[in-house]
Each structure stands twice: as C-alpha cells, then as structure tokens.
C-alpha cells in the first residue's frame, strides 16, 4: 500500500513523531511504500539539525534523516510553518536575510501543496498529532 504520513507535533514534547517513526519503519519492513512524510504545525521542529538531546536519549531528527538516506523517503517540511518557527534551508535563509540555516540532511522545505498531493497520490494518509 502507498502511504502518506502527516506529523503535526514537535519532537520530545509529544509522542507523535516517535510513533510515526516506528510506524514508518514497520510499514517499510512489511513492504509498503512511503509516498511522503510531511511535517506541519510544530512538526517542522523535527527537522532542525541543531537539536542536541542527551546522549542516552534517542535523536529523532537523526533517525528520520537515516530513514531518508537508507530508504529514499521524501521528508517534506511546510515552508510557511517552518518560517514561523525558524526552520530554514540555505535558500530560505538567504531569501530572508538570516545568518544561517538549520535543516537536517534528508529533509526538504516545500509548500502545503506537497501535503495535498500526498493525500491525492497515496492510498491512505495517516496523521500523527495531538
């Protein structure tokens, strides 16, 4: 089955991203296709490579990044939600006159149309949120 994933909460504060991560891993193991993972609301905070959780804790952002690298999963961060919350790639940082970017490898910033497209193209769209 082709699955679209929507994550609406930030890491650590809320379980949504952890649960989505486990779900996506399980889905891949069972042979399903992940069409796209879309990060919205505070979910965009999953994309910052500047987060430094304690060493004995999980690093959710790194885990997403590894999934993207190993399985070619498309991780998309909503541009409008990201701008509000200070999540930037190089291009966005330059466009907005900021002195640095902070997006983790494997994530990309794009518009809400990517979420709608995931809804249209996937067999199921599954929301992880509050």
């Amino acid at each position: 089955m082709k699955l679209g994933i929507l994550i609406n909460e930030g890491p650590y504060q809320h379980q949504a991203s952890d649960t989505a991560l486990q779900y996506v891993k399980a889905a891949i193991e069972k042979g399903h296709e992940i069409y796209r993972v879309f990060f919205y609301n505070d979910g965009v905070n999953n994309a910052t490579r500047l987060a430094t959780p304690p060493q004995d804790d999980r690093n959710i952002t790194k885990e997403w990044s590894a999934l993207a690298k190993n399985h070619g999963i498309d991780l998309v961060v909503c541009v409008a939600a990201a701008q509000r919350r200070g999540i930037l790639d190089k291009g966005e940082a330059e466009r907005n006159g900021k002195d640095s970017d902070n997006i983790e490898e494997g994530f990309r910033i794009s518009g809400l149309g990517q979420l709608v497209e995931a809804g249209i193209q996937s067999d199921r769209l599954i929301t992880f949120g509050d």
């Binding site: 919205y40 609301n41 939600a81 149309g113 709608v116 249209i120 769209l125 929301t127």
Partner: protein, 138 residues
C-alpha cells in the same frame, strides 16, 4: 497539474478554539491550498472548534491577528459543505446564530447565495466522515 484526473473527498476536522493554539489558523491554510487543487473539500467544527466560527471576534487585547474573516471566503473557493457538530454547540451554550453565516454562490441558479452551514448530530457526522477519502484533524 499532473493529478488533475483524481478528485478526492478531503475533510478537515477543526477541534480547537481559534487562538489558544495555532491549529485553527494553520488548518485554514491547508484548506485553502486543498481547494486550489480542485479537490472536494468539506470542513467540520467540533469540540472547542465551534468557537472558530464565532461572530464578532476581537483580538486586539491578545495581540493576535484576527483571521476569522477568512472563513467567509470559503464559498469563493467552492467549499460548500461546512458541518457543525450539534452536541458541541449545545454543550457550550451556543446556538447557530452565534456563528458566522457562511454561504456559497450557485452559478446554476443565477448565483443565488446558499448556506454552507449544516448542523449535524455526532451520529450523522460519523457517517459523513466514513464517506471521506481523507480526514485531517487539527
């Protein structure tokens, strides 16, 4: 658009009060984009989400942008189905006339204005949700 052949039923379920969290505002942003993709879009307001449609919102005192006028534009985006959870209204001591009147224009009837608002019971709402392809909850 490459996916113009596919039209799905998207329902957005709004459950939170308008300014306590950002869910209401960011839900509205997805709704408008979805309509721009020519999908069949409906909205449900339930729980504290019914407060999102309250008339005469004034936000000066809390320093936040009043976005409630955007709901009136939904009809222009061909969003004609707005479902209000009857029990949620009643639980909060509200009646329909406390909410904005949302309309769409029927071009087949000389652009007559028709109400987009449907007051439905939770039991009926669950049936309507079952008919959707995509339900996103904010």
């Amino acid at each position: 658009m490459s996916e113009d052949a596919i039209i799905k039923k998207f329902m957005y379920v709004n459950r939170k009060s308008p300014y306590g969290t950002i869910y209401a505002l960011e839900s509205l942003e997805v709704v408008l984009i979805t309509a721009a993709f020519d999908q069949e879009v409906s909205l449900t307001f339930t729980d504290d989400g019914v407060y999102q449609l309250m008339k005469d919102q004034k936000t000066d005192g809390i320093g936040m942008k009043n976005f409630s006028s955007t709901y009136a534009a939904l009809g222009d985006y061909e969003i004609k189905k707005i479902f209000i959870d009857k029990e949620s209204l009643e639980e909060r001591g509200l009646v329909l006339s406390d909410l904005q009147e949302l309309v769409w224009e029927d071009e087949d009837e000389d652009y007559a204005e028709k109400s987009s608002i449907n007051l439905v019971s939770r039991a009926d709402l669950s049936k309507i949700m079952n008919e959707q392809d995509i339900v996103m909850s904010f």
